[in-house]
Amino acid sequence: MNSSRSLGLMLLTPAIVLVVLFFLVPVALTAVFSFTNMSTATGITGGAYQIGPSSLQRLGDSYGFPELAERLSQPSYVIDERGLTALESAGVDASAITEMRTHLGEVFPTRREAERMIKGLDARPSTREVKQISEQFNRSLLDTRYESEGDLLAGLDALGVEVTPAERDAVAASSYSGWTWTTDNFRRMVSTPDTLRTLINTVFYVAIVLVLFNTGYAMFLAITTYYMPETTGGIFRSIWLLPRITPPVIYVLMWKWLAWDTGFISMFLGQFGVAPKNWMLDSSTNAWVFVILINGFVGASMGMLVFSSALRAIPKSQFYASEVDGASRWQQIRYIILPQMRWPILFVTCYQTLSLLASFDLILLSTEGGPGGATEVWSLMTYHTALNNYAGNLEYGYGTALSLVLVVIGVTLSLIYLRVFNYNALVAKPLIEQ
């Protein structure tokens, strides 16, 4: 008992490792990243504190301290040891340096005030020297990089900028260039109108492709080829497998050839005087028709195979029996075949819902979500946000938050499906002999 249990565990180990590596860890990381604002701008390692035009903009706009931002944007001049040392190495007159030392610790809010003081020195520096000297004491916070929040605050203090604690936090937060923990992703998701549109697109896409093609058309193919002679049916089934086995890029390229303004449709309709156009991206309706057909023809093949084999599993005698019982072909399909297809249909529905939710390759290759986001579905939006967007700032944090929604939906659906499967499939009623 004990050894068989450990043997079982041993045999399960590879599966457990794979599940952990390729499912649990990615899901956990997705959850973690979705609570950050990681992007190309922040990087994925830590950041630094740097007050610059954009952080001051944020400080004024997002944190509500416009005056503070204005104040920080001004340069200030501080007479300090660092500046004096720099003067020495710059070869400035020693008497001027000695004289400057008497002003050690003074702060001038503007360049003009600092230069007025320098001009008043007994050494009488020339205008060029005044500029040279003042430059060494420019202690503006702008574009200075601090490694930690403490350094930044020390810098503020050194400048003699008086700030309230609230202002201090705001400065620190607005000037941080790395990523931070945040729930803003979800807030943004809920408040952006695009999200709702994409959600509706996704539901529409999954439902239509699933019902029309992955189950409906697949069932139609399975049943019609079942009633055909063996070889004819086999040929038709093989033809319908072609979209599945063609490489996606080539498959979509063929659709594009069909739809381009110099493609087949345009050429053909050109015979009747219709102006050529890109039929795929011409309108959102057209784009949807193509997206659904492109995905549907690929998706139908799996259902067709599953349903065909399930059909074959129904004993031939049931077909004979229903015929002699007087059932027409249609009644045979309606009362004998379809009721016995419940499990295959449910299986294909489950499997295809999940794969449709997650896959976007064919849409990306064909319409790329266009025109104008009309065919943008959730997974494609995730891809566009996190991995490839036009602006160039890849928002990993927001992207993972978007994909976390897919993970949650996927896991929830899987659990529901598992439940539905198990309860009826595993709990068979006992055979009762009388």
Partner: protein
């Protein structure tokens, strides 16, 4: 309703299974199509119910030519060997199916289902699914479904093959009872001669796509037309002795045993090959043609014993007798056959 197969032929591709078979089943009769595997009996049945298209000839139900009608339009009830119950329907729904597809009113369907369920004694099973039934119960359901729309013809394809011995015995009489009560014309396809003999009014025994003999069970048993028929009927089976005709008698091959031919047999020409058929019950201590041999095997059957007797030429005769303790394997016996019951077959297997 009378069924007439008129010069019916059936081939699959280039393989001819049945050629020019003519058979008439009288109204209300139950007829057995009996024969070994591959003799064409199931093919005949499937042609009658319309699952197989016929290649030639006609099929008539009464005066109606149904040759080219699809099975849906033929009004036949079929019980399949596997019963072919619809697993996703309850017993009641299974039985109701032929009526349902005819769009009979629901309350009438219910009445008819209840009536037929009472006839085959499954009233208490109507709510179950086929998977929850025993073999015998499934058999009854299949029978009920075949009968519920009162077809012109009932066809039974090896209906008892999947049942255990005890149930088979029970269902044999049940099917016959139901057939008699409904008065339906029925054809039973079977390879089991006991079923055919015990259930049917007449037997059509088939071999290689032809009907060898068509007769009542008793007639066929006592008066088989060929050695094949004689060999097919009877349990334990008939034993055959091979030899030649000599001086109006029978000379057993490879031995000096000479037997007289039974009275009434046309005297065959000297030297022609003959086969004698002797049923186990016609060979024993009482008889008029003595055949010496040696006991090779004793099979205990309870009430009776079956003795295998090896003759000098190595051929075997069987004798069935009340149990007796004085005979053991290896004993020499000189039992006799009843001359009047011995059957003589010619070289082509035909009875002389």
């Amino acid at each position: 309703m009378r069924i007439l197969l008129d010069k019916f032929s059936k081939s699959f591709g280039t393989t001819k299974v049945i050629e020019d078979l003519t058979l008439e089943v009288a109204d209300g009769e139950m007829l057995a199509l009996l024969g070994p595997s591959g003799c064409g009996k199931s093919t005949t049945l499937f042609a009658i119910c319309g699952i197989h298209k016929v290649t030639g000839g006609r099929i008539l139900f009464g005066d109606r030519d149904v040759t080219d009608l699809p099975s849906q339009a033929r009004s036949v009830g079929v019980v399949f060997q596997s019963y072919a119950l619809y697993p996703h329907m309850t017993v009641a729904e299974n039985i109701a199916f032929p009526l349902q597809v005819k769009k009979v009113a629901p309350d009438q369907i219910k009445r008819e289902v209840d009536a037929i369920a009472a006839l085959v004694h499954i009233e208490n099973l109507l709510g179950r699914r086929p998977a929850e039934l025993s073999g015998g119960q499934q058999q009854r359901v299949a029978l009920a479904r075949a009968l519920v729309r009162k077809p012109d013809v009932l066809l039974l394809d090896e209906p008892l093959a999947n049942l255990d011995a005890k149930l088979r015995l029970e269902m044999r009489s049940e099917i016959r009872r139901i057939q008699l009560e409904t008065g339906i014309t029925a054809i039973l396809v079977t390879h089991d001669q006991v079923e055919a003999m015990s259930m049917c009014d007449r037997i059509a025994i088939m071999n290689a796509g032809e009907i060898v003999q068509l007769a009542t069970p008793t007639e066929m048993y006592h008066n088989p037309r060929t050695a094949f028929v004689a060999g097919f009927l009877g349990n334990p089976p008939i034993a055959f002795l091979r030899g030649t005709a000599k001086d109006g008698g029978f000379a057993l091959d490879n031995s000096d045993i000479r037997l007289p031919l039974p009275a009434g047999t046309l005297s065959p020409a000297d030297g022609s090959k003959l086969t004698l058929g002797i049923r186990p019950e016609d060979f024993g201590p009482l008889g008029d043609i003595a055949i010496p041999g040696k006991i090779a095997f004793v099979e205990t059957q309870g009430r009776e014993n079956l003795y295998d007797v090896r003759l000098a030429d190595g051929s075997m005769l069987r004798s069935i007798q009340p149990v007796r303790g004085d005979i053991a394997v290896g004993n020499e016996v000189a039992w006799s056959a009843s001359g009047a019951k011995v059957m003589v077959f010619g070289e082509d297997g035909a009875r002389l």
